[in-house]
C-alpha cells in the first residue's frame, strides 16, 4: 500500500549524509563553546557590564 510511511525510503538513503551533517554541526557547537571559554577567561574586564567582568581584575 502506498502512502505516507513513518520512515520513508528517502530517510534511509540519506542516513549517511544526515549523520555526517549532524557531526559537523555538533563540532561547530563545540568550537563556539571552546572559543567562548577562551574569550571569556582572559583578560578579565573591570567593566561591571562586560560579560567577562571579574572582581579580581578590579582588585589587581
Amino acid at each position: 500500500m502506498s502512502g505516507i510511511h513513518k520512515v520513508h525510503e528517502l530517510h534511509t538513503r540519506r542516513k549517511g549524509r544526515n549523520a555526517s551533517l549532524g557531526i559537523v554541526l555538533a563540532l561547530f557547537v563545540g568550537l563556539i563553546f571552546a572559543v567562548t571559554m577562551v574569550k571569556l577567561s582572559k583578560p578579565q574586564s573591570v567593566d561591571t557590564k562586560a560579560p567577562n567582568y571579574s572582581i579580581d581584575a578590579v582588585t589587581e
Binding site: 528517502l10 538513503r13 549517511g16 549524509r17 551533517l21 571552546a34 572559543v35 577562551v38 574569550k39
Partner: protein
C-alpha cells in the same frame, strides 16, 4: 510541486556528504590552511591555540566556499575539460543550485565567524578574497583575458595575509612579502600546467596564454616571472620573520626553479611533445614543492625564535 513530482525527484542520485566536501576543493583548502597558519604563527603577536584553530578553520571554509562558487559558475567549461570533468557538478552528483547555496551560505558564515573569533579587519580581508576569486577571477577575468591567472592569483595569495591579520589586526611588510611570493609564483605555476593541458583550455575556450599567444610567448613569460620571483622570495629572509635557514632554502630552491624555467624557455613544442612534456610536468610539480618549502622554512624560523635559537645579529633590512 505535487506529491507525484516530489516522489519522482527523490528517485534521482542523492549527493553523498563527500560530494559536497569535494565542492570545496579540499586540495586547494590544504594549501590555504597551511599558508594561513604560517602567516598566523610567524606573526609577532601570540594567539591562543583555540583561537588560532578556529580562525584558520574560518579562512579554510571561506576559501572552500569560493571554490564552490567557482564550480557553480564554471560548470559548463568544467564539463569540457578532462581535468575537471569529474567534478561534482559536471559529473551530475551535485546540482548547480546546491553549489551556489552552499557557496553563499559558507562564505557568509566564514566571514561572520572570523569577525567574531578574530577581528573585523581579518574578516574584511577574507570577504574581499572570496569576492575576488568568485567574481573578479571566475566571472570576469577567467574567460576574458590571458592575464586571468596573473591578476586572479591574488585570491590564492591572501590567506597568509589574513592569518597575519588575525594575530596583528593589520598589514605589514612581512605579510605583504608572503602575499607577493604566492602572487608572483602563481603565473609560472599555472602556465607550466597550461603548456601540457593546452588542448583542454583550447576546447573550453579559456584564453590562457598558450591559447592566445602561443607556447613560445608562454615559455618566455614563465622565465620572466621566475626571474622576478627570485628577489621577492629571498626578501623575507631579511625581515623580522626571516633568518639564515630561510635564506639558504630560498637561495637553493630559487636556483633550481630558475634553472627549470630556463630549460622550459630553451625547449619548443616538438621537443616537448616528443618526451610527453616531461620537463613542463616536472617544473609544475617542483613549483608546488617550491612554495611549500618556502613556507615550511618561515615556520621553522618562527619555531627557532620561539626556542631562542634564532641568530641574534641577523640583518632585518625591511
Amino acid at each position: 510541486m505535487t506529491d507525484v513530482n516530489y516522489m519522482a525527484e527523490t528517485q534521482e542520485y542523492d549527493a553523498e556528504f563527500g560530494d559536497y566536501v569535494e565542492l570545496l576543493k579540499p586540495r586547494v583548502m590544504r594549501l590555504v590552511i597551511f599558508t594561513a597558519a604560517v602567516g598566523l604563527f610567524t606573526a609577532p603577536v601570540a594567539v591562543h591555540p583555540v583561537i588560532a584553530f578556529a580562525t584558520i578553520l574560518c579562512i579554510a571554509i571561506g576559501a572552500g566556499a569560493s571554490g564552490a562558487l567557482n564550480m557553480w559558475w564554471d560548470a559548463d567549461i568544467d564539463a569540457i575539460m578532462k581535468r575537471t570533468a569529474n567534478r561534482p557538478i559536471p559529473s551530475g552528483r551535485v546540482k548547480r543550485g546546491e553549489a551556489l547555496s552552499i557557496g553563499i551560505t559558507l562564505s557568509v558564515m566564514a566571514v561572520i565567524m572570523l569577525g567574531l573569533f578574530g577581528n573585523l579587519f581579518a574578516a574584511g580581508l577574507l570577504a574581499f578574497t572570496i569576492f575576488f576569486y568568485a567574481v573578479v577571477y571566475s566571472m570576469w577575468l577567467k574567460r576574458s583575458t590571458p592575464q586571468n591567472i596573473v591578476i586572479g592569483g591574488a585570491a590564492g595569495a591572501f590567506p597568509p595575509m589574513i592569518g597575519w591579520a588575525v594575530a596583528t589586526g593589520g598589514v605589514s611588510i612581512e605579510s605583504i612579502l608572503m602575499f607577493a611570493l604566492i602572487f608572483i609564483w602563481t603565473p609560472p605555476h599555472f602556465w607550466a600546467l597550461a603548456l601540457f593541458r593546452n588542448e583542454d583550455y583550447k576546447a573550453a575556450g579559456i584564453p590562457m596564454l598558450p591559447v592566445t599567444s602561443g607556447t613560445r610567448v608562454t615559455r618566455r613569460h614563465i622565465l620572466a616571472y621566475s626571474v622576478l620571483l627570485v628577489p621577492i622570495a629571498i626578501a623575507p629572509a631579511f625581515t623580522q620573520i626571516g633568518g639564515p635557514l630561510y635564506f639558504a632554502v630560498a637561495v637553493a630552491f630559487n636556483a633550481v626553479f630558475l634553472f627549470g624555467a630556463f630549460r622550459l624557455w630553451q625547449r619548443n613544442d616538438d621537443v616537448a611533445e616528443a618526451d610527453g612534456y616531461r620537463a613542463e610536468k616536472r617544473f609544475f610539480m617542483f613549483s608546488i614543492l617550491y612554495l611549500f618549502v618556502h613556507f615550511v622554512a618561515l615556520l621553522a624560523e618562527a619555531v627557532l625564535r620561539g626556542f631562542d635559537l634564532g641568530v641574534a645579529n641577523w640583518p632585518a633590512w625591511f
